[in-house]
């Protein structure tokens, strides 16, 4: 009986005799493995990054975002609307709905949030990310983030503002073109007076640009800034009377606390007044008043537009310790959509996982297909080797090799091709995945303007799944063994008498 080690050696020697054919089979196996290993090594890492950076912090843990029954901007067929299919009909939020929710146990506040834009805050002018929007929220929600109550109750006419932590944690060093952590952090911002410029149509203008080569921000030159302003103004001129449209209102604000993310919160009442001022200004400035009416914005074949007193979005704040999910469920029972931070996170993860699964399935199917073809190639190579090796098989049998020895030699050859191809493919797959990871991370770092978000980007999205790799090698060994089974059996059954006959 031939020794295992000698069997492997003979197999390797025979394989070396047919270098080209064996290399072709090995490379084919490797190609399939490269696709699978690359996908597997990267997708896990991509998911990790996604989970870390999923944007859910805009919703506070004790807050529920409520939306009208269905997305009001979805276009539906007119027949559906006219057919009175109530379950599909859009249901807007109204003051009576908020009133009902406010009466539930565990609910602290329920109201519509007011978004005020365009607006600019003078203290944020030196930052790459502009603040062009204020959010009016119910007072209890604002109070959750107020760090210093004395500032709030102080005798001042300034509007209390809660600013996002992301806006204040880092500051821009114009001299070095770098964003640096503010050592004093939030402390220096608390109580700071800010100027709020309502109706600043240029609030979203970029003040800085990122230099990819130098890897730093640079301030826009005066000419560049003017070009941007001119471009925006050209668009405004067609729609508005710019003399009115460029009118702004200056208000005084004061930082009273910090909230997650980049938003800036203010009391609901103040926001409503600010919003009203901007609406009035816009209506006065509009050259074509019809453009501003809801009937025109939502034609008869689309969804019904919200009437005065109807809202598409609301915010519900639950009391500390209350069951937020129970409240969200009750809201859903009323026929509205409810989103909590946990639900938003779950939905985003689910949506992301679903996309990943599709990518993974496609990659694995493609890799599997190549691998299947490679197995066919292993079968063909081993078959040809058997045909070419008949004299050797005859000699080996005459010298004392058993049928089992012969079978093992050829099975070993098939398996060696599969395993070598898999190992080769794995190494190349890892190398490719590492390279792609490097590209992706470099690209992500270059294209992320939010410095805090950039900190969440890891050094690599490459991950090594050893269990999967072991399974892959085992699978490849088994599949290539199966591919070599028939040729090996044929080799074992070669008649030595016939094989030894010299043609």
């Amino acid at each position: 009986m031939i020794r295992r080690r000698d069997s492997l050696r003979l197999t390797a020697q025979k394989l070396a005799l047919r270098k080209k054919r064996a290399a072709f089979a090995i490379i084919s196996v490797a190609l399939g493995v490269i696709v699978v290993v690359t996908a597997d090594s990267l997708l896990e890492g991509v998911r990790d990054v996604a989970v870390k950076t999923l944007w859910t912090e805009e919703i506070a843990p004790d807050q529920i975002r409520v939306y009208a029954g269905e997305n009001p901007y979805n276009f539906v067929l007119p027949g559906e609307e006219r057919g009175q299919k109530t379950k599909r009909r859009l249901q807007y939020l109204s003051e009576s709905v908020f009133e009902e929710i406010r009466g539930w146990p565990g609910v602290e506040a329920a109201d519509r949030p007011v978004v005020v834009q365009p607006v600019s805050l003078n203290a944020f002018a030196g930052r790459p990310g502009a603040v062009a929007e204020l959010q009016g929220v119910p007072e209890p929600m604002l109070l959750r983030y107020v760090t210093n109550r004395a500032l709030l109750s102080g005798t001042t006419k300034a509007i209390p503002l809660v600013v996002g932590e992301r806006n204040v944690r880092l500051r821009f060093d114009e001299k070095h073109g770098k964003l640096e952590a503010d050592p004093a952090g939030e402390r220096t911002w608390l109580g700071r007076d800010l100027t709020i410029l309502l109706g600043d149509n240029y609030a979203q203008l970029s003040r800085f640009q990122y230099d990819y080569k130098k890897r730093q921000y640079t301030a826009l030159s005066d000419d560049e800034a003017t070009l941007q302003r001119d471009s925006l103004e050209r668009n405004f001129r067609a729609q508005y009377d710019t003399a009115i449209f460029n009118t702004t209102l200056t208000l005084k604000g004061r930082v009273v606390g910090f909230c997650p993310g980049k938003k800036v919160l203010m009391p609901l009442e103040a926001a409503a007044l600010c919003g009203k001022w901007i609406d009035q200004r816009n209506r006065l400035a509009a050259r074509n008043l019809e453009r501003e009416t809801d009937d025109v914005a939502y034609p008869e074949f689309g969804r019904r537009a919200p009437k005065p007193g109807e809202y598409t979005e609301g915010v519900v704040l639950v009391k500390p310790g209350a069951d937020i999910e129970a409240v969200a469920k009750r809201i859903e029972e009323l026929g509205f959509s409810a989103t909590t931070r946990a639900r938003a996170f779950e939905n985003q993860v689910r949506a992301f996982d679903s996309s990943l699964r599709v990518v993974k399935k496609v990659a694995f199917a493609f890799g599997g297909l190549i691998f299947g073809l490679a197995c066919a190639l292993v079968w063909s190579t081993t078959s040809k080797t058997v045909s070419d090796s008949r004299p050797d098989i005859g000699l080996f049998r005459a010298l004392g090799a058993t049928k089992r020895d012969i079978r093992r030699l050829f099975l070993g050859e098939a398996m060696l091709q599969g395993v070598l191809g898999t190992l080769f493919g794995m190494a190349l797959g890892w190398a490719l995945a590492l390279t792609i990871s490097h590209w992706v991370i470099s690209f992500a770092r270059r294209s992320t303007f939010d410095p805090e978000e950039a900190l969440l980007i890891p050094r690599s999205i490459f991950s090594l799944n050893l269990k999967f790799c072991l399974l892959l090698v085992a699978g490849a060994a088994i599949l290539s063994l199966l591919a070599g089974l028939l040729p090996a059996q044929r080799a074992a059954n070669v008649d030595p008498v016939q094989a030894l006959k010299r043609e």
């Binding site: 031939i2 000698d6 050797d392 004392g400 008498v497 030894l500």
Partner: protein, 220 residues
Amino acid sequence: MIHLENISVDYPLKSGRVPALRHVNLDIAAGDFVAIMGPSGSGKTTLIQLIAGLLTPTAGEVIVSGENLRQLNDRKISGFRNRTIGFVFQFFNLPNYYDALDNVALPLVFAGVDEPTRRTRARELLTEFGLAERMRHTPDQLSGGEAQRVAIARALVNNPKIILADEPTGNLDRDTGTHVMELLQRVNRQRKVTVLLVTHDEKAAAFAHRVLRIEKGELA
């Protein structure tokens, strides 16, 4: 050592069965040197293949070294071939991808002998046969006589009791053939190995203790 009893071998062909051997009875004692002569197609090689267990007779019994070959399964008969039989072929049958040393050691691979032992034994034999300088040469780098000496060394490496030589001089010139026959004779005398030689060549057959003639599958 070798006992063939009423052996018949038929080859199945499309046109019917063709008899290769008919009622052959043969006894060869241990240490004997027997030559079998006969024209082409007379059944000489079939006889050798029967004794090596590569072929199963249609009828009769083959008993070699006390083993009834018909009763052995593949594993046992392969082991028997490996331990008991040494083959010398007309065309040497030395794989070109092995050098002389590895070719000689090949039967030991199938015997499960470890590599250092294999190499030592192969080296000893090649040195004994005057091929010490040729160990690392591949068969296509050897002359016909050298190649056949390597083949004889390979046949002897596992210390077999029997050497079956099928036309060992058929592919060699006269002088080289004589040297090969002298080597086989020496092996027979010194190692007490039974040699069964199949040949057309009267000169080669003259080295044997006795010569048997076979014609149309029957021993004369």
